[in-house]
Structures are given as structure tokens and as C-alpha cells.
Symmetry: C2
Subunit: 249 residues, 2 copies
Amino acid sequence: MTRYKAIISYDGTLFSGFQRQPGERTVQEELEKTLQRLNSGQPVIIFGAGRTDAGVHAYGQVIHFDLPQARDVEKLRFGLDTQAPEDIDVVSVEQVADDFHARYDKHNKTYEFLVDTGRPKNPMMRHYATAYPYPLDLDLMQEAIKDLVGTHDFTGFTATGTSVENKIRTITRATVEPEGRPNMLVFTFTGNGFLYKQVRNMVGTLLKIGNHRMPVSQIKTVLESRDRNLAGPTAAGNGLYLKEIIYDK
Amino acid sequence: MTRYKAIISYDGTLFSGFQRQPGERTVQEELEKTLQRLNSGQPVIIFGAGRTDAGVHAYGQVIHFDLPQARDVEKLRFGLDTQAPEDIDVVSVEQVADDFHARYDKHNKTYEFLVDTGRPKNPMMRHYATAYPYPLDLDLMQEAIKDLVGTHDFTGFTATGTSVENKIRTITRATVEPEGRPNMLVFTFTGNGFLYKQVRNMVGTLLKIGNHRMPVSQIKTVLESRDRNLAGPTAAGNGLYLKEIIYDK
């Protein structure tokens, strides 16, 4: 048995998310089907570091899986990449220790969230950025976003009813800035873990602050109160990207 | 009768091109249907400056059309933009002189062509850039592309059998450079007119030069010989963008 770690990217538009669900097209199922073909028809289970939702994209999702034999990793990458559906790409494959676990090994994740502030929006980006065609005060968002950095109880920014018990996470980077292309803003968050819908709820709250419909102190209020009702709406998934995952050594 | 000029952008992926064709989904037909709804059910004909092919995108296509009455142009823009399909956006609408003609009035067009050189390609860009996962020498392409600037007979770069008689055009800008995003190159061409498939054939030739499969002098050879067989293959339409149209005053 040999364990492999792979970095994959995908366009989330036509997927019902990463995780296998009966009757739905998922990244996990498509990759498992591709791996099974490359494994003489024997099933292969993959484990992903992050379970992205429907419509959410990835540049740097990490998965691991086991194959019965050692393979040339570049040939394996090429075979997987060319045989997987065209909305999944396999960036790299490497052999790892048998106890490596994409999900449970300690890591930091970086998410990006793209917002199209154009009026009208960019039609080429309609699946790849969330349209927000309203006035936005970038300075206010840049001030408020700093309050997310640090170790906090993020209960107020996760979906109510989330089963995870410990809602304390550490964010080491939280920024918002022009992305480079016209009318595009990019939010970037790096941390040791994110709760269900946390990034989208943080972005939804920051957009309300930027649009002067919540005070700049609202991030602190939500963190302290742990009250989901005080946060903004969940921003749409089409702007969200799982950008990079860095494992602790 | 009032004449309007509009700048529109569209994602060409799901269109069989700009120009109306029986049984096909085209930008012209979708916009004419939208205008008809806004014109009390009376048909409206639109004229586009450039007839983009299937899969080709636009940020700055220009159209004109007539309506029986004067309208508030921002309300008209908003109505068109919101009622048109989501892969067409209406950037601006203005009232123009009754003799303005989007196609026949003298203008300069700028086209961009995006190439994804990544191995693997970026899955988010698979409809928005042409994948070229082979070695490319940017310096060679930058040297060769200069030969396109000026007034030339572009017969060798158009589709054989094109019915247009005069194949002399002037290119005032021709550049290729990194686009900003990882592994993305952008070709930019500005000129007073482009023949059918000219941009895609120029790009196809430049990529062959960059990949060392044609000499750097090949652009000159194709221009002088006017022989389509000496040019490279037609690059795919998904990397091509009609970027901007500037009318002479």
C-alpha cells in the first residue's frame, strides 16, 4: 500500500460540492471514479482536506488516497488529470507517509472570496465572483476586517445548528483589497480551520459594513455575542475559492 | 425615431456567435428579443460592429438600434441589462445621430487573446482562455509580433475563400505579455479592421513561433506570400475577446 497526496483545482459551478452525496455530481465521486479506472477497476476512497459547498471553487484542495503499488507520480498526475472531467485539474501528486491525513493533519488553509462590484457585473465572471453592485467603502471594510485576526470563538459566524463542538479558531490573515482586474475586490483569510459557512458569513457581514448598513464595530459585536442573527447574510458560494493548504511539518 | 448606441459585453461560451442564424442561440437574437419586449412587442433590429464567432467573448462590442421614441438612457440600459440573459450585460447606452452606424462608421477595434500556459490548465478559465501547455519562448513571440504592425495585405492570415475583396488592413498595436495571473499570456491587437479569423490565425502562428516550430521570420513570410498554408493553425475561439471599439470623430 502506498499513500499519495494530491493538490487539485476545480471549477465548483457544476458540482454539488466536494463531498459524495447520493444522486449528486460531486468532486469526490468524479475523482474516485477516475482513480478506480486507473486502479484496475478496484475502488479507491479519497479524503479531502476541505469539504467545499456547491458552487465553491478550489485552486489548492488537498486529497489523499491509497493505491496497492508505488507509481511514478508524474505519470499518475498526468493520467488522473487527463482522465478526470474537464472541470477538475490535478496540479501535483506526491508519495507521502502512510499516516498522512489530508483532513486531520494540522494545517493552515487560505480562502479567497472574489466580489464583482461592477454595474453591470462582468458576464465572464458570473460563476467566479459574487456580484455586489452597490456602493462599498473599502476603508471601512479594511478597518473592520482586522477584528477577525486572532483566536476567537466564531459561533456567531457559523451556520446555526453546526454539530462541531469547539468553535474556537485562529485567523492569522484577513485582508480585503482590489484584486487587479476592474471592479474586482478580493477578501483573503488564512487560518487553522474554518467552521461551516464561516468565510461566507464573514464576507456577508463585511459587505454590510462597507455598504454602511452595519457599523464598523459589528465584527466585534458578532464575535462577543456569538449571535448568528447579528451577522450579515451568507455571501453566495460562487465567489469563494479554497486557495491553498499548508501542512505543519 | 431615435438612434441608440450601446456597449455590451457577453460570455461567448453558450452562443453560436454574435450574428443571427436560424436555429442557433446568438447574441443578436437574444438582444433583439429583449428589445422587442421593451418596445411594446414591436421588432427591433440591431447592428453590431463586430460579428464575433462561436465561443468568442466581448467586453466592448458596440451595437446600434432605433426606437420610436426618446428614452432615458440609464433606464433603458438598466432595463436591457436586467432583462437580457445573464451571459449578456449592457455596459452603457447613449443617444446618437440618426446616421451613426456601429459597423460602417470608421473605428479602431482592440482584440485580446488569452492563453493559459499552465500544466495543468486553470479549470476556472477553460472557457475563457486557450490552453497551450507547451514550452513557449516569450521573447521570440515579442520579436515576431512587431512584424504585424503597419499596413499590410493580410490575405495569408484570413480563412481561404473569404469574400471580402480588399484584404489590406492597418494594425497600430500588436503585443504579447504576461497577463498578471499565473501562467496567463495576453496578446493585444488594435487596428482599423480585422478579416475573418485573422486574429486567431495570427495567434496560432505566433504560438508556433514561440514553440520553436516556425522561424521568427514566419510572420513576414506569411504577409509577403499571402499564403494561408504558411501560417499556423487557427487558435480556438475561447481565448478571444472583443475588448474595445473607438470610433473616429
